[in-house]
Amino acid sequence: MTHWIVAPIVLPAMMAAIIVLIAREHLALQRVLSMAATVALALIAAGLAWHAADGTIAVYLLGDWQAPFGIVLVADRLSTTFVLLTAVLAVIVLLYAIGSGWDGRGRHFHALFQFQLMGIAGAFLTGDAFNLFVFFEVLLIASYGLMLHSGGTERYRAGVQYVVYNLLGSTLFLFALGTIYAETGTLNMAHLAQRVAEIGSEATGGLRVAAVLLLLVFAVKAAILPLHFWLPGAYAHAPAPVAALFAVMTKIGAYGIIRVYTLVFPPDLAVTQGLFDTWLLPGALLTLALGMIGVLGSRGLDRLVAFAVIGSMGMLMASISVFTEKGISAALYYAIHSTLATAALFLLVDVVRDRRKGPSARLTAAPPIEGGALIAGMFFAAAIAMTGLPPLSGFLGKLLILDAAAQTPALAWVWAVILGSSLVAVVGFARAGSTVFWKSHEVAADQARVTDPEEEQGAHEAADPPARPPVLPLVAIGALLALLVAVTVLAGPITRYLGATTAQLFAPQPYISAVLEKAGKEIADPHGAGHAEGEAAEAPVEDHTGGVAQDNEGGSH
């Protein structure tokens, strides 16, 4: 069983290399290999989630080195849930990419896609803070390639902004990690949790700086208000399947916050007091408001969905910043829902863009598209889910968040912003949908009136029947909508499971002992030199009284 934990990282990595080396010129073979690997990834993720469902915390030691020295992968409920979500989304997105031919519009789509999956899975599974940085870089560098897939001036311009922004985010991440290491002398998350708890309240200035820096890093990933500027351009200009996969990337920021601030800096820690209610909550509410106003103000469908992503991240963060068990489990439910809903919307926008003749994704009336009724129906369903109207999962997610916020002092603000911004979003989506799908009939009628005397239109169309658009993209979108319905119908079991997940997060002791007590190869230390280290070189270790056995061995991995 244990080796399966590393499979979600190794499998895509190997497959990406195989695709580049063997199948570089054969698109069909690439598609088969990539699809097979992604389906296998989904099965493995499901297996891991099944294994973690009973509360087991499975630990994998890379190279079999004992925990604080080696790098660990940890599969608990939270990480396996997110890996499963990623894998399922990836299968559907890949289906769409193959069906719509996006993967053939540039080179190396499938290899980059696999590397991206490797990075995402690694970021979710790792139990080491520096390793988290490395996997962030893996997924980012793959995402640069994917975002620029098939090129184009607009895309390159948006790409430069995206890359610069993330480069700065990575620098900030390194500063945060450096500060943490300087303060605690370790980067293993479980070990960090122990040491942070041991550091007294008098020497915590640096630690607080580190906690704030780390929060900023995750806020960049999650596009929280002052740090959201990279998102609209990047998501609107990315190829649709890539944007749909990116729907899970913003959630990595949320995952990072949940993981680090329940494990390393738990809510009752004096160091991080005020971080969430004073700073993150207002930021999240502003993000929510800005996202939904952006939905109303967008002049293109693609930007509209991108702003909807920002809004949904605001909602998610508002729920996280409440920082109670209820709040986090509501946030997890909302994360699952919003990932699926935004992915469906990005794919739908692409279908619309593909089938419209003139205005691509601009919000202007244009002649009706082929299969317009079905696509409009799908857009309607996805928009209902996204804006949080009943009966779909967005509504349930919002209810859970409102309920969780009911216990906070900022109740009035949270409820006012969430409900007000929902109204704005409904208006925004209704305007977009009616412009694109309803007004098109008026345009068609106008055109018919104009061209009728000449009687060219009918003859022309009869002579040249358009090629049937592919069905597979619609199947993929249908699958996403079906998943949304499933998330709604199974809301009871899912929220119970997520409640158990949160309970596991709020009782981090089993996680810590599972990681640190897992037996592996130890650093050979026949002469007890570890004691010298503890006293001499690593000054920060002085902060610790060595109450735990591992502390005497000092150092980190």
Binding site: I141, G152, V164, T171, Y181, H527, A537, S556, H557
Partner: protein, 137 residues
């Protein structure tokens, strides 16, 4: 030495942030490189500053330098180097295809007008310059 390191990191960070806030890709890329240098030096110093000591734990060795930050810095250097190469390529592509190296997201109309004006003035200058060169030749 602490003062030197700290001010070095500070100056690098200052220059990096200043350059990143420029609007053209070239200064921005230089700025991100400076920032990554700053963070590398910073990471290096997180294991405390020790001179002329081995990064080895052995019996009888009383003072030594912490080896872990060195490993971290190595990783960070490789990653930032790769990322810089990637962004140079992307920025070059963006510049070549858009004929414009601004990083910000101005509406296209404003750019085109500016560039056309500039192009017009440059266009009128160029023949004159060429003529001068020819005269000199």
């Amino acid at each position: 030495m602490e003062l030197l390191m700290a001010s070095g990191i500070g100056v690098l960070t200052f220059a990096g942030i200043y350059l990143v806030l420029r609007l053209r890709t070239f200064p921005v890329i230089i700025g991100t490189s400076l920032l990554s240098y700053a963070v590398n030096v910073f990471l290096f110093s997180t294991g405390r500053l020790v001179v002329n000591q081995p990064p080895i734990l052995r019996d009888g060795v009383e003072s030594y330098t912490d080896p872990l930050p060195q490993a971290l810095v190595l990783t960070a250097i490789v990653i930032s180097f790769g990322m810089t190469a990637v962004i140079v390529m992307i920025a070059l592509n963006a510049f070549l295809s858009a004929d414009d190296d601004h990083v910000d997201d101005q509406p296209h109309g404003a750019f085109d007008v500016q560039r056309k004006q500039r192009g017009a003035t440059m266009g009128s200058d160029l023949p004159a310059g060429d003529a001068e060169d020819e005269v000199r030749a």
